[in-house]
């Protein structure tokens, strides 16, 4: 799964999965949150994307221009290896475990950092955290073995 980590289409697949199963997000409740993801990769294969969560779905997955993260509530900044480890863990265990949940990975901020121009926007990452984790955990269902 980590081979798709810096592929925008992978996040669109996750969004499609979420949008196909609003029932799985219903008990978590509606969301209003725009999250940026800035992923640095060796060799210049960086990925910058914007995930727009609305109600019980992911309404938009789009590339983020240089500096475009300022239009997000907050953004996650880290290297592809850290993201890849999270998705590999999700694929192996069905969900992120141990210190590879997105909340744990961003806690210390050494590998993936949660950043923002406004503390209120950053706090949205915490307000909607379970939904965001469940969105990423969808990778387990996209894995070839479970297709």
């Amino acid at each position: 799964m980590s081979d798709r980590v810096n592929d925008l289409a992978f996040y669109q697949d996750l969004a499609d999965l979420m949008n196909a199963h609003p029932d799985q997000y219903e008990t978590l409740g509606e969301v209003d949150f725009t999250l940026g993801v800035l992923m640095a990769a060796e060799g210049g294969n960086d990925l910058r994307l914007r995930l727009r969560f609305e109600d019980l779905g992911c309404a938009d997955v789009s590339p983020l221009s240089e500096g475009g993260e300022a239009s997000c509530d907050c953004w996650l900044e880290g290297d592809t290896d850290s993201w890849g480890e999270m998705f590999d863990d999700i694929t192996t265990n069905g969900r992120a475990t141990g210190r590879r949940t997105i909340n744990s990975l961003t806690l210390v901020g050494d590998r993936i950092d949660v950043r923002g121009d406004d503390p209120m926007g950053v706090d949205k990452f915490f307000r909607f955290n379970q939904t965001i984790q469940q969105f990423f955990d969808g990778a387990a269902q996209l894995a070839p073995s479970s297709a």
């Binding site: 008990t27 978590l28 409740g29 509606e30 209003d32 609305e54 109600d55 969900r95 475990t97 210190r99 949940t101 909340n103 744990s104 806690l107 210390v108 901020g109 950043r115 923002g116 121009d117 406004d118 503390p119 209120m120 950053v122 706090d123 949205k124 915490f126 307000r127 909607f128 955290n129 379970q130 984790q133």
Partner: protein, 366 residues
């Protein structure tokens, strides 16, 4: 004007069969706005959707101190209920209506949503540390229930959405007390030590002289700290069961902090002199928080959990604790800035000791 045009309204009885007088004025027309047709949003009919016309006009200083609903045609001689928080800036926050809807939508159940039967037997020191942390958390969660309850009945009913939001906070805190009590008992352990050192902070919150001081101490300072403890909670959680407990609690806590930050901002914008009283409260509160956060009971339990066991207290537990303390206080100071409160130049917090570089602090990032 609400007005029924049917002829039958003119032939209505003036008394009940028991001889009690009847008032049909509400049927013949009132000064309240009528014919509202709010359009439900995709998620349903929200409080934002119905905040139209006079129903959505939250006055700075409402003329009545009654329980009358905002937007109704209120009797001139409606009784004074003795509310003492009658100015918008004393209770309101720009995000409070949205936060209320968010809270309602994101309620969860500690009974149903936590996979209790997947708890695993843990090494004794870890189980003890988790139970000790749960003991402390259960204790402080109920303070966060008591505080809004103490002030809500003194708030003018005109600010109904703020009261509704605080009602959700009370429910959230009850659920937190509930879930940590359950966790303490659910895995072969129990509640442990309720230390005497926790009192100063909790008492200062409960005994604050004004609601805004109390809100600064609870929502901004205390809950900002607890929000970060919950974040750490997920990192230190021995299994996915505890992870889910902390993560769901963290979502609730972040709402409380979001309200408090914007309430303080509104309070200062409404009356700049209020900043002084908030500063005074936080001068004391921050010292109490340091006492609380470094209390021998709480910090020893956290050191074991962060280290992953008593054998790693010094090489992993303590270093991680101080790293996280830096983040906790950086986030707090950034929220203060967002609230319009410059604590950086005033605080007595040992910033250097906490590893916070004031020069690098840009007052926006966290």
């Amino acid at each position: 004007m609400a007005l029924a045009t049917d002829e039958s309204v003119h032939e209505l009885p003036e008394m009940t069969p028991m001889g009690n007088p009847l008032d049909w004025s509400w049927l013949r027309g009132t000064r309240a706005e009528w014919g509202m047709n709010p359009v439900p949003s995709r998620r349903g009919l929200t409080m934002m959707d119905i905040a139209t016309g006079t129903y959505g006009e939250v006055l700075e200083e409402p003329p009545y101190r009654s329980m009358a609903p905002r937007g109704a045609d209120i009797d001139e001689d409606t009784p004074d209920m003795g509310y003492i928080l009658n100015h918008k800036s004393q209770v309101w926050a720009d995000n409070v209506v949205e936060l209320y809807e968010e809270a309602v939508a994101r309620q969860w159940s500690s009974t149903r949503d936590i996979p209790w039967n997947e708890l695993q037997e843990l090494p004794s020191d870890i189980e003890h540390a988790m139970c000790q942390l749960c003991t402390v958390l259960t204790e402080i969660e109920m303070i966060a229930t008591d505080l809004p309850a103490k002030w809500m009945w003194r708030m003018n009913h005109h600010f109904v959405e703020a009261k509704m939001f605080l009602a959700t906070q009370i429910m959230d805190e009850a659920r937190h007390a509930d879930v940590f009590r359950k966790r303490a008992l659910a895995n072969g352990g129990g509640l442990l030590l309720s230390g005497s050192g926790d009192e100063s902070l909790l008492r200062s919150i409960l005994e604050a002289k004004t609601y805004t001081q109390a809100s600064a101490l609870l929502h901004l300072l205390g809950e900002g700290f607890i929000l970060d403890v919950f974040r750490q909670g997920e990192l230190i959680a021995p299994t996915h069961v505890e992870k889910k407990i902390f993560r769901l609690s963290m979502q609730d806590e972040a709402r409380h902090v979001a309200y408090g930050t914007m309430h303080i901002r509104q309070a200062i914008a409404g009356d700049p002199d209020v900043a002084d009283e908030i500063h005074e409260a936080l001068d004391h509160g921050e010292q109490f928080l340091i006492e609380f956060g470094t209390s021998p009971v709480l910090s020893s339990a956290l050191a074991i959990l962060l280290g992953g066991g008593s054998e790693h207290i010094e090489d992993k537990g303590f270093p991680m604790q101080s790293l996280l303390a830096t983040k906790i206080f950086t986030s707090y100071l950034a929220r203060c800035e967002r609230a319009g409160l410059n604590r950086i130049d005033r605080t007595d917090l040992p910033l250097e000791l906490l590893g916070i570089d004031i020069d690098a602090f840009d007052r926006t990032g966290v």
